[in-house]
């Protein structure tokens, strides 16, 4: 189920996309503290970074869009 869920996000067709080459050094650095946040999910529920923490850690996937 895990792989199917994230597979769907990777399927997007990426139309009208800038041609930026992303460096592997993109984003916050390894060793940094995660930036706290709260955001609304697809069920209308507010989810905080604290509630996402699991005993094995958290995986955050940033993706371009679920629309296009």
């Amino acid at each position: 189920m895990f792989s199917l869920c994230l597979f769907a996000i990777g399927c997007r067709s990426d139309k009208s996309s800038p041609s930026l080459v992303v460096s592997p050094l993109t984003g916050s650095s390894v060793g940094q503290k995660m930036a706290p946040f709260t955001a609304r999910d697809q069920f209308g529920k507010d989810v905080s970074s604290d509630t996402l923490k699991g005993t094995s850690g958290t995986v955050l996937l940033f993706f371009r869009s679920a629309d296009w």
Binding site: M1, F2, S3, L4, C5, L6, F7, A8, I9, G10, C11, R12, S13, D14, K15, S16, S17, P18, L20, V21, V22, S23, P24, L25, T26, G27, S28, S29, V30, G31, Q32, K33, M34, A35, F37, A39, R40, D41, Q42, F43, G44, V47, S49, L52, K53, G54, T55, S56, G57, T58, V59, L60, L61, F62, F63, R64, S65, A66, D67, W68
Partner: protein
């Protein structure tokens, strides 16, 4: 586990309903979270303004970033299973098949059964040697080291295989110290599937099955005998799926 984008909750709900996604998809329409993680795409304009650069962070239970996976090109993506296999191999799903070969047990694995263009997945050779049998490791001089080779193909980009640390064995018969592998070990080779327009077009509406070929070359020895070098042909089957081109309902689309 959570996924974050600059989409509205409505867009995420529509997408989640279509793909039956139950883990959190978090809306960041102001791109504040995206910016706080340093992944705001600075070149995005128009309806893409505010979007994230795609990739993964792994954060430990104490809130520290431990790993991250971002490709150099936005069209290239680590698959979720590949990331999980790196972080938590004991939880990784995958496909495996046993292969016959002289003097060793071999199981082939792959992180994903089906992927889309641009996906970076892993192929694995899991080897089990009988007691007192060793194979030579890369770096050995004068003997044939074990090598996992994936055949070049225009459908994919090869990434050099990763071998585990070897052990130094002293061979009394020849008075030499040599790097070897014994017991159980695995060799992992990642490949990145093509995302060229021609390749995407070749998938049509239903996708297609790709065969990835390779070889495992090695020379096995026990306490008294070195056997002839062996080469086992290998294949992995991969289902290439077309990209999802369905947009959200017009009323909630990015404009």
């Amino acid at each position: 586990m959570a996924a974050i984008s600059y989409d509205s909750p409505a867009i995420l709900k529509d997408f989640a309903d279509r793909h039956k996604i139950e883990f959190p998809l978090l809306a960041d329409p102001q791109s504040k979270i995206i910016a706080s993680y340093g992944v705001l795409n600075p070149e995005a304009t128009g309806m893409t303004k505010g979007m994230a650069l795609p990739g993964y962070f792994y954060i430990d239970a104490n809130g520290l970033i431990r790993e991250k996976y971002f490709e150099a090109k936005y069209t290239d993506r680590f698959t979720a299973n590949n990331v999980m296999a790196k972080l938590l191999p004991e939880l990784a799903e995958g496909v495996s098949q046993k292969v016959e070969g002289p003097h060793l047990g071999l199981t082939l694995g792959q992180s994903d059964r089906a992927v889309v263009p641009g996906s970076r997945l892993s192929l694995v050779a899991k080897i089990e040697l009988p007691q007192d049998v060793h194979v030579y490791a890369p770096g050995v001089k004068g003997y044939k080291p074990i090598q996992l080779e994936i055949a070049p193909s225009p459908d994919l980009e090869l990434i050099p295989p990763v071998y585990p640390p070897s052990k130094v064995l002293y061979l009394d018969a020849i008075k030499e110290q040599v790097p070897v592998f014994e017991g159980r070990f695995r060799i992992t080779s990642e490949v990145k599937m093509s995302a060229t327009p021609d390749f995407v077009k070749s998938l049509g509406a239903d996708g297609k099955t790709i065969t990835i070929a390779g070889q495992l070359r090695y020379q096995a020895c026990d306490k008294t005998t070195c056997y002839l070098p062996a080469s086992i042909p290998l294949t992995w089957q991969l289902q290439m799926l077309p990209l999802d081109r369905q947009r959200s309902p017009e009323a909630i689309q990015h404009k």
